[in-house]
C-alpha cells in the first residue's frame, strides 16, 4: 500500500512516487468514466463538501461529478470573496463543515495558502482547488495525466508554458509536478510576467516564444486576465497575441505531434488561435474529461482509509 497524505495542498510538497500513484489511480478512474454506467460504489457513505470563494464553473462541476460518479454525498457552497473580509473566518467555516462529518473539503480561494490553514484546522482531508497565485494541483495533475496518456511517459518530455507565469497557479503546479516527473519545462513570457528566480524551480526561461516552443512535445497556454493590460503588465492583447499567441505558424515549430493545452477558458486569438484550438493537436477537451478522472482518483485515495480519523498523515 502506497503512502497517501491527509491533504492534497500542492505539488510542491509531493514526491515522484506520490504523483505517480495518483496518476495511475486516475487511469482506473478514466476507465470507469468511459463506461455507459459510470456509477461505482467507491465513495459510498462518504461526504464531500466544496467551498468556492472564487467563481469557477468548470472546476466545481468537475469535482461535483467526480464525487457523484463514485456515489459520494456531495455538496458545494459558494462564498462571495467580498465576504472574506467581513469577519467570517475561513477556519470557522472549515470547522463547521468538519463538524458535519465531511470526509473531504475542497477549497478554492483567492488567497495563497488558504487551503493550508484550513488543513491545519480540520480533521477532514483538504483538497486545494486553486489558491491565490500559489497552486492548482488538480489542474496540473490532469495536465500531466493527459500528457502521459498521449505520450506514454512524462520523463524527458519537453513542455513549453507560455503566458502569465507570475500570476498563474496552474503554471506553478505544473512546473513543480512536471519537473519532478522528469519533464523538461521551458517558460516563455514578457519579463513583467516572470517571477524572480523562476529558473531555480528547474525551468529554462525565454522571452521569445519561437525559441521556447522549438521541438517541444507540449505547448501549454495560460489564461491572460484582461485587467493585466490596465495594470501595466502588457501593452495590449493584440501585441500579446503577436508575440506569445499560439498560432499555426508557431505550432509548426513544435514537434509534429505536439499537444496544445490550456486550462481554459481560452481567450481565442489572445492565447491560442481558433484553428489551432480545433486542430488535432488540441487537447483542450481531453483535459476536461481527464480532470474528472483525476479528481475521482484523488477523492478515492483520500477517503479510502475507513473512518476519517484513521487517515495517515
Amino acid at each position: 500500500m502506497k503512502y497517501m497524505r491527509k491533504d492534497l495542498l500542492g505539488l510542491r510538497e509531493l514526491t515522484f512516487e506520490e504523483i505517480d500513484y495518483i496518476l495511475s489511480t486516475a487511469e482506473l478512474m478514466k476507465y470507469i468514466l468511459l463506461q455507459d454506467v459510470k456509477k461505482t460504489p467507491h465513495l459510498n457513505g462518504k461526504s464531500i463538501v466544496s467551498i468556492f470563494y472564487e467563481n469557477s464553473t468548470r472546476t466545481k462541476l468537475s469535482f461535483d461529478l467526480a464525487a457523484k460518479y463514485l456515489s459520494a454525498t456531495s455538496c458545494s457552497i459558494s462564498v462571495s470573496s467580498s465576504s472574506v473580509n467581513k469577519g467570517e473566518t475561513l477556519i470557522d467555516t472549515g470547522k463547521t463543515v468538519d463538524a458535519m462529518a465531511a470526509d473531504v473539503v475542497i477549497i478554492r480561494h483567492p488567497f495563497s495558502g488558504a487551503p493550508h490553514i484550513m488543513a491545519k484546522n480540520v480533521e477532514a482531508s483538504v483538497i486545494n482547488a486553486g489558491d491565490g497565485v500559489n497552486e492548482h494541483p488538480t489542474q496540473a495533475l490532469l495536465d500531466m495525466f493527459t500528457i502521459k496518456e498521449e505520450k506514454g511517459t512524462l520523463n524527458g518530455i519537453k513542455v513549453a508554458v507560455v503566458g502569465d507565469i507570475l500570476h498563474s497557479r496552474v503554471a506553478r503546479s505544473n512546473i513543480w509536478g512536471l519537473t519532478k516527473m522528469g519533464a523538461q519545462v521551458r517558460v516563455a513570457a514578457p519579463a513583467t510576467f516572470l517571477p524572480p528566480d523562476i529558473e531555480d524551480m528547474g525551468v529554462s526561461v525565454y522571452y521569445d516564444t519561437d525559441s521556447a516552443i522549438k521541438d517541444v512535445d507540449v505547448v501549454m497556454g495560460l489564461r491572460i486576465q484582461r485587467e493585466r493590460q490596465k495594470e501595466g503588465f502588457i501593452g495590449s492583447a493584440y501585441e500579446y497575441y503577436r508575440y506569445y499567441g499560439i498560432n499555426q505558424d508557431r505550432l509548426k515549430l513544435c514537434k509534429k505531434d505536439a499537444l496544445v493545452m490550456h486550462p481554459g477558458p481560452v481567450n481565442r486569438a489572445v492565447e491560442i488561435d481558433s484553428k489551432v484550438l480545433s486542430s488535432e493537436n488540441s487537447m483542450v477537451d481531453q483535459q476536461v474529461t481527464n480532470g474528472v478522472a483525476v479528481r475521482m482518483a484523488l477523492l478515492y485515495l483520500l477517503t479510502r482509509k475507513g473512518s476519517r480519523k484513521d487517515v495517515i498523515n
Binding site: F111, G113, H116, D131, V133, N134, P195, P196, M201
Partner: protein, 429 residues
C-alpha cells in the same frame, strides 16, 4: 538603598568592574569596592551592568487596541526585555495627533506603567498623509518625535514640509519608507521564496526608493530624518553614502532584519509576516555590516503585538508585525555580540546612547547622580525562547524555539526593581 556588587559596567569607554550604590531614584556612588550596607545586595559577578535600554520604536496599542497590548502589559513586557524607556508609535485609535492624546499616554503611563513611556506624535493628522499636525504643541506636551509609522508619507511635498516644520521645533521625524504602489499586493519579500511559495512579492525597491527620497529631501532642506526599520542592503548603501556626504540622516533596524530571512514566512507562517518583510541572507549580512560600521545607529524592537485571531488566518489577511520587547536583546546578543559583530560598547550605543541622542534624551549612562535606570545581563545564559512565556498580551513571534545566549536578569527603573532573576518582580505583576 540598593547595592550592585562586582558587576562589569559597560560605558562608551569600555567595560569596568565596579560596585554601584543606588539611593532612592539615583545612583549615589560608583567605586571599585563599596562595603556592604544595610540594604538589598545584588551579586552581579560575571554579569554585565548597563543603563536601561531605550526602544525608540514600539507599538503599545493603547488606546484602541488594548486586546493586543496596553500600557500596563506593554511596559512590563518591555521591562522584561531590558528597556526602561520606550517611545510608542502613534498609530493607535484615536491616533496620537493631538495634545490630548499625548497627555493620555503620559497619564496612563504614570498610573499603569512600570517604566517610562514617551509618546511619538503623528506627522499628519490621522496618519492620512495630508495635513501636518500641530507639531509645536505636540512637542510642548511631551512628544519626543513624529512619525506616521505604518504608513509612508507618499506625497513628497508634504514630507518636505514635515521635515522643515519638525525642524522648527527640534522634533525628530521618523520615516516609514515604503512606496506602496510598488508594494502593491505583495506579502513577502520578492524573490525566490515568493516565487516558490506562490505569494506576490514586495520588492526591495519599494523601501529603497523612499529611503532615497527622504535622504534627498533631508539633504536639500538641511533638515534631519530618521529612517525606521531598515531591512535591505540597498537602503544601507543609500544611507551610508548620504552620511558620507554629511546628510543629517540616522536610522534603525529591528532584530528580525539581522536574524531571520524570508524562509521563515514559508508555508504561510503569519508569525513571520512583517512590514517591511523579512529579506534575504545577503540583506542580513548587509544589516550586520551596517550595524558594525555605524551606518545603522539604532536597534529598535518594532514591537508589534497582534491577537491570535489576527494571525491565525489567511496570510493575506493577517496583520504584519511581531512582538519584540522580550526577544530583541537576547537575539542581538546571540547574533551580534557572541558572533563578534559588535562589542559591549556597540551594544550600549545601539540600544541606549544613539536612541537617546536622536530623541534628545539625557544620556548619563551608569554614572554618579544619574537616574538609576539599570539593567543587569547574564551574557552566558543559554535558553530556548518560548512564546507562551511572554509577558506581552500577544504571542505572535517566529522566535519560538530560538536558541538564545544572553538574558536580562534585572531591570531597575529609577531605583525600583522591576525584573528580578529574569522574572517580573512580584510587586509589579
Amino acid at each position: 538603598m540598593l547595592l550592585i556588587k562586582n558587576g562589569c559596567i559597560v560605558t562608551d569607554e569600555g567595560v569596568f568592574k565596579r560596585d554601584i550604590l543606588v539611593e532612592g531614584q539615583r545612583i549615589k556612588m560608583i567605586a571599585d569596592k563599596i562595603d556592604d550596607q544595610e540594604c538589598e545586595i545584588i551579586d552581579a559577578s560575571g554579569k554585565m551592568v548597563l543603563p536601561g535600554f531605550v526602544d525608540m520604536h514600539c507599538h503599545l496599542r493603547d488606546p484602541g487596541y488594548e486586546y493586543k497590548e496596553d500600557i500596563y502589559t506593554g511596559t512590563r513586557s518591555a521591562a522584561k526585555g531590558g528597556f526602561t524607556i520606550v517611545a510608542c508609535m502613534p498609530n493607535t485609535d484615536p491616533v496620537i495627533d493631538s495634545k490630548a492624546m499625548i497627555e493620555y499616554i503620559k497619564a496612563k503611563s504614570r498610573t499603569d506603567g512600570v517604566i517610562d513611556v514617551l509618546p511619538i506624535g503623528a506627522i499628519t493628522r490621522r496618519l492620512e498623509g495630508k495635513r501636518l499636525t500641530d507639531m509645536g504643541e505636540l512637542k510642548e506636551h511631551g512628544a519626543v518625535a513624529v512619525s506616521d509609522d505604518g504608513f509612508s508619507v507618499s506625497n513628497s511635498m508634504i514630507m518636505q514640509n514635515a521635515l522643515l516644520y519638525a525642524k522648527t521645533f527640534g522634533l525628530p521625524v521618523i520615516s516609514h519608507c515604503e512606496d506602496t504602489q510598488l508594494t502593491s499586493e505583495g506579502l513577502i519579500n520578492l524573490g525566490r521564496d515568493s516565487t516558490f511559495f506562490g505569494m506576490m512579492g514586495i520588492s526591495k525597491a519599494a523601501e529603497e526608493i523612499m529611503v532615497a527620497r527622504d535622504v534627498i529631501l533631508a539633504e536639500n532642506t538641511g533638515a534631519s530624518v530618521h529612517i525606521a526599520h531598515v531591512s535591505t542592503e540597498g537602503s544601507v548603501d543609500i544611507i551610508r553614502r548620504a552620511k558620507q556626504r554629511g546628510v543629517h540622516v540616522t536610522c534603525e533596524t529591528a532584530p528580525h532584519y539581522f536574524s531571520l530571512d524570508s524562509s521563515y514566512a514559508r508555508d504561510f507562517n503569519t508569525d513571520a509576516k512583517v512590514n517591511p518583510p523579512l529579506r534575504e541572507k545577503s540583506d542580513i549580512d548587509a544589516i550586520k555590516k551596517g550595524l558594525r560600521e555605524g551606518v545603522i545607529d539604532v536597534i529598535a524592537t518594532d514591537h508589534a503585538p497582534h491577537s491570535e485571531d489576527e494571525k491565525n488566518i489567511e496570510f493575506q489577511l493577517a496583520k504584519p508585525g511581531m512582538v519584540g520587547f522580550e526577544t530583541a536583546v537576547p537575539v542581538a546578543l546571540t547574533e551580534l555580540l557572541h558572533k563578534n559583530m559588535l562589542d559591549w560598547t556597540d551594544i550600549l550605543n545601539k540600544f541606549y546612547c544613539n536612541p537617546c541622542k536622536i530623541l534628545n534624551l539625557k544620556c548619563d549612562g551608569i554614572s554618579t547622580q544619574a537616574v538609576a535606570d539599570i539593567i543587569i545581563i547574564d551574557p552566558e545564559y543559554r535558553y530556548e525562547i518560548k512564546t507562551e512565556e511572554f509577558v506581552s498580551k500577544s504571542k505572535n513571534s517566529p522566535y519560538q524555539g530560538y536558541k538564545a545566549k544572553g538574558r536580562i536578569l534585572y531591570t531597575i527603573n529609577k531605583g525600583r526593581i522591576i525584573v528580578r532573576d529574569g522574572e517580573l518582580d512580584r510587586e509589579v505583576i
